[in-house]
Symmetry: C2
C-alpha cells in the first residue's frame, strides 16, 4: 500500500513523473492568442523601428552644430525642411542645417540628435535659434534599438498577456504558435449525485464537481470533456475511465466517498498503468489518488467539492501546467489575517479567504464554516496555507494569500 | 485650458464623473459564466444540504446512548440497518439503536451524532461497540447548515471564479445574471500608421495600439469594436469618433502625436460633450485626454504603445470597471527590486517589470530600455510605480508590483 505523502512530496512526484504532451503546437491569429501558452521561443525577424526616429517634437540636426549654445547665445541653424509623419527622410542633412521633425518622425542622414521645440526659437526667416546644446543620440531611437532580427521577444511557455500581443503586433507577427488545448476528461462518481440542473431527492446532492472542475480546467487553458455521473459500480467506472483515457490527455475522477469505491478507483488505475499516490497529508483533500497510463495522469479527487477544488488548485493545475509546458507561476499577495484560525490535526491546512483593502492595508478574512461546506467556495478570492507543524495563526498575522 | 492632473486626481475625477451603464443584465448558462461580472446579488432559494448528513463513515446514533463509554467499557448499540448513499433515511431511530452511515449519507430522525467507524467494533451479532462518546451534532451537517433560502451567495459586481461556479451549481443555479459586455470603440490615428499585417514603408510604423487595446479590453470583459486607422484629418476623425460613440458605450482614440491632432481631438470631444482632462502627471502617458458625451467616456490616449498601454492599465480599465459595475480589485504583490531605478522628472513614473522567484524570494526585474520602446511590453508581468517626489529606488528595495 502506498503511504500518505506530504504536499511537497506530491509536487516533487508530479514533476518527476510527467512531461509535456507531444504534438502540442497550433497556430492562432493574434486576436485569439491572449491567454494562450506560447509553444516556442519567439524571435524577431525584422528591425523595430526600421528607421532612425525622433522621440520629441523639435529639430533634427548635427549635435556638433549646437555645442556651446545657450539661451544667451543660441546656435543659428538653417531650416532645410520638415519631416512629415509616415514619410521617409531619405536625404543628407548638410552641416549647419536642421529639419523640423514630429515625435516618431524619421530623421535625415547626418542628423544625430533632436532638440525639443521648447528649446528653439523660429526666427521666421528660414532659420531657428537652438538654446540648448545637443549630444549625439539625444532624443533619438535608432533603427533596431527596440528589436532586431534574432532578438528573443517572448519565451516558450509564457501565457500571452495583452501587452505581449502589442509587442507581437509591433514586430509584425499576425499569428502565433501556441500550445493546443489539452483534453481533460471529467468523471463524477457517486450513487447520491444528480446533475446540477435537477432537484435532489431524499439523500441526494447535486454533482458540483463537474461544473467546478470544468470551470477550473477552462480557466487554466485546458479543454474539459465531461463524461457525466457514474454510479458506484467498479465495472461501469472502469469502462468510463478507459474511454476517457483513450480520448483525453488526462482524466479526473471525483467522488467515491465510500471506501469500496476508492479501492475500486485504485484497482482501475493500477490495471491501466501505475498507481503513484494514495493520500495527501492535507486538509481538506486527504483521500486523493494519482496514477498514470503512459504520460496520461489519472487523478482521483475526493468527492466533497471543497476538498476536490482544493486538491485541483494545489496539485492538478500544476500537473496540467507541466503537460501544457506552461512556465508561468502565480505569486502570493501579502495580507493581514482578520481573525485567528486554528489548526492542529497534523496535516497541512488549506483555508479559503476573502481579500479586501481597508485604510490602505490588504486584509484576508478567512471563510469560516463547518468542515467542508460548499459555501467555502463562494466568494473566495484565494487561499492560504497553515503548515503541518503550526497550531494556528493569530489575528493580525501577516500571511501569503494565493489568489485563485 | 485644463491643467495637468495627478494620477490620484484623475482617478477621483473618473469616480465622480461616470456611473454604471444602464440595461446591463443578461442571463448566461453556468458554463459560460466564469470570468463574467455578476449583475446583482445572488441569494439562495433552497436548503443545502436538504437533509441532515454525516460527514464521516460510521454509525449514526443518539449521543446520550454513548455518554461515558470508553475503550474499556464500550456502549453496546443494536444495528438497526444501513443508510445507502443517495437514499433517504425517513424513519425514527429507536433509543439504543444505531445505523451504519457512509460519509455524506442521510441520518434517520432521532440520531444526533455520528461516531467514526474507527471508534467502533462490529460484534457480528447485530450489535456494535462504541468506544468514544458522541456529543449532539458531532460529525453531522444539518439541513441548511451550508445554505438556506435568502442567504447571500455572491454579491453584485463580483467576477465569477471557477469556485463561485461550483457554489452556484451546489445551490441549483443553472444560469446566472451577468453584466452584458459593454462595447468599446477603438480608433487609431496617425499618418505614419499601417495595419499590423502590413510591412511599414519609410517613416511608417505598425498600428500596435489597436491589437494591444483590443486584447486589454477583451481581457477586462468588454467587447472591443475596431474602427481602424484614421489619418490626421480633423473632419475624418470627428466623423469616426461620432460613429463610434453612437454605437459603443465608450470610445478610445489613440495617437495623434502631433500637437495639431491632439488639439483636434480636444475640439472633437468638446463638441460632443465635455472635456474633463488634458494631461496626466505620469510617465509614460502625459498627453492623455478624457471627456464625456452623456455617460459615455471619450478617451484620447498617447500614440506610443507603451504610453497608451500604461494609461489604459491605470485609468481606462478602472473607468470601464465603473461602467460595468465591477467591484473587484486586483492586489499588488511584494517583490524585491533586482536593480536600481532612477526617476527625477517631477512625474509619477510607471515601470514595467518581470517577476520571478529565486531562493523562495519574489524578485522584480525592471524592464530597461530607452524611453518608450515597444519591447517594454513583451514579457512584462506587471508594473510598479515610483512616486512623484521619489528620486528613484535602490537595488533590493521592497516594492509593490501590480500584475497585469
Amino acid at each position: 500500500m502506498l503511504e500518505v505523502k506530504t504536499p511537497e512530496e506530491v509536487l516533487a512526484l508530479i514533476r518527476r513523473e510527467f512531461v509535456p504532451v507531444g504534438g502540442r503546437e497550433e497556430t492562432v491569429p493574434l486576436s485569439e492568442a491572449p491567454g494562450r501558452i506560447l509553444a516556442r521561443d519567439l524571435t524577431a525577424t525584422e528591425y523595430v523601428p526600421d528607421f532612425d526616429r525622433s522621440t520629441v517634437d523639435g529639430y533634427a540636426c548635427r549635435a556638433a552644430d549646437t555645442f556651446g549654445c545657450s539661451d544667451a547665445i543660441p546656435a543659428i541653424l538653417s531650416v532645410a525642411g520638415e519631416v512629415l509623419m509616415g514619410e521617409g527622410a531619405d536625404y543628407d542633412l548638410a552641416p549647419g542645417d536642421c529639419v523640423y521633425v514630429p515625435t516618431g518622425g524619421a530623421i535625415p542622414r547626418g542628423a544625430d540628435c533632436a532638440v525639443m521645440i521648447e528649446y528653439t526659437e523660429d526666427y521666421g526667416d528660414g532659420t531657428v535659434g537652438i538654446m540648448k546644446p545637443g549630444v549625439p543620440g539625444m532624443n533619438l531611437i535608432f533603427r533596431g534599438d527596440d528589436v532586431y532580427p534574432g532578438k528573443l521577444i517572448l519565451p516558450a511557455g509564457r501565457v500571452l498577456s495583452p501587452q505581449d500581443i502589442g509587442a507581437l503586433a509591433a514586430v509584425g507577427e499576425t499569428s502565433v504558435p501556441v500550445v493546443r488545448r489539452i483534453k481533460v476528461g471529467v468523471i463524477s462518481t457517486g450513487d447520491e449525485l444528480v446533475p446540477p440542473g435537477e432537484r435532489p431527492g431524499p439523500g441526494q446532492v447535486r454533482d458540483v464537481n463537474s461544473p467546478l472542475l470544468t470551470a477550473m480546467l477552462t480557466g487554466c487553458g485546458a479543454q474539459p470533456v465531461n463524461y457525466g455521473i457514474v454510479v458506484d459500480n467498479e465495472e461501469l467506472l472502469r469502462q468510463k475511465v478507459q474511454a476517457a483515457a483513450a480520448e483525453c490527455d488526462a482524466v479526473i475522477l471525483s467522488g467515491g466517498s465510500s471506501v469500496g469505491v476508492k479501492d475500486a478507483a485504485c484497482r482501475i488505475i493500477e490495471g491501466m498503468g501505475e498507481l503513484l499516490l494514495h493520500g495527501i497529508a492535507i486538509k481538506p483533500g486527504k483521500p486523493t489518488i494519482l496514477g498514470k497510463a503512459g504520460n496520461k495522469p489519472l487523478i482521483g479527487l475526493p468527492g466533497h467539492p471543497v476538498a476536490a477544488g482544493t486538491v485541483a488548485q494545489l496539485f492538478v493545475l500544476p500537473l496540467l501546467d507541466i503537460l501544457m509546458g506552461k512556465k508561468q507561476e502565480s505569486h502570493p499577495v501579502s495580507a493581514e489575517l482578520t481573525e485567528s484560525v486554528s489548526a492542529n490535526h497534523g496535516r497541512e491546512q488549506v483555508n479559503a479567504c476573502r481579500l479586501y483593502r481597508r485604510d490602505g492595508k490588504l486584509l484576508a478574512e478567512p471563510i469560516r464554516s463547518k468542515s467542508g461546506l460548499i459555501t467555502q467556495l463562494a466568494g473566495a478570492d484565494g487561499y492560504f496555507i497553515i503548515t503541518r507543524d503550526c497550531e494556528g495563526l493569530p489575528r493580525g498575522a501577516q500571511i501569503e494569500v494565493f489568489p485563485y
